[in-house]
Every structure is written in C-alpha cells, then in structure tokens.
Symmetry: C2
Subunit: 91 residues, 2 copies
C-alpha cells in the first residue's frame, strides 16, 4: 500500500510582525496542510519562537509541537544560526 506523505509547508520568519506569520500559518492549516515548519535564521530565531508561542496561545492544544531543529546554514560565506520548529494541527 502506498502511503501519501504530506509535504510540510514552510513559513520563513522575517521582518514582518509576529501576527502576520501566525495568520499565514493558520491559513495553511485552513487550506488543509496539517504540518507547518516555522523557520527563522540569524536574528529571526527569537521571532520564530515568538510566532510558535503566539500560535499556541491562539490555537491552544489543537496544535502540537512535533520537533525543534537548530543548526547553522552557510549564507554568503558566513554561518548563520537557524531554528526550524515543526508544528502539527491535531484537529
């Protein structure tokens, strides 16, 4: 039996307000995606966690934290820290 693995959608955290990324994520859930990755690099690592916390305070336990990945990407010859927060809509 061939299972369908749903591709996780990506929200790249940047200079916009936290709420914009919360709505972007909720919209993806409403469009049928169940898994979304919030990715923040460099100075936006903190904001990615802010977006996660705002999402949880808004959606409560209908959203769950799947995993948190941290590391560094090479960017224009320099290394930049990143965080990738995978969240899943339970219901």
């Amino acid at each position: 039996m061939v299972g369908i693995v749903e591709e996780a959608r990506l929200v790249n955290i940047g200079a916009k307000p936290v709420e914009d990324y919360v709505f972007e994520t909720i919209l993806m859930f409403q469009e049928g995606s169940s898994t979304v990755v919030l990715k923040g690099s460099g100075g936006f690592v903190s904001k990615a966690v802010d977006v996660y916390n705002a999402l949880v305070s808004r959606l409560g336990d209908s959203v769950e934290l799947v995993k948190v990945d941290i590391g560094s990407d090479r960017f224009k010859g320099r290394f930049k820290s990143f965080i990738a927060i995978t969240v899943r809509k339970k219901y």
Copy 2:
C-alpha cells in the same frame, strides 16, 4: 541499586559575547559536568543557538545535542519566549 542522576548545569545566556558562554560551558565540562543547558530568553534566544553552534564548531562531535525545549515564561506580568538547549559531552 541507587543510580546517581547528575544534575544538568545551567548557562543563562545574556548580553556577554558568544565566546564567553562557550568558555563557561567548556569550563563546566572540564569540571566534570557532562550535561549543560543553554537557556536564552526574549532577544537572547537567537544567541543561545549561536552559542550552541560555536560550541559544536569548537568541540566537534565530542558534544551532542540532547534536546531543544521552547516555550514562554511569565516575566514581570508579560510572557517571554525561551529556548533551552541541552548538550552532553560524549568524551
């Protein structure tokens, strides 16, 4: 048989340079602690990941990532995002 569970030591990330926290962590390892938690709150969440990446680039695979916790703490009536990165010295 009573096992001894070694208490993880805590490095609170603040305004000092990244390297200061890297040395603080290495010192803890040299003093015999095998598990250290790098905790950053608010704007220092990004720096906690920077410290982790600098530690890995310095110590290579003698240090391993145990887990990453994210959430929010209540601080003076407001919620502040935090990250707690648990690292272990393998050898």
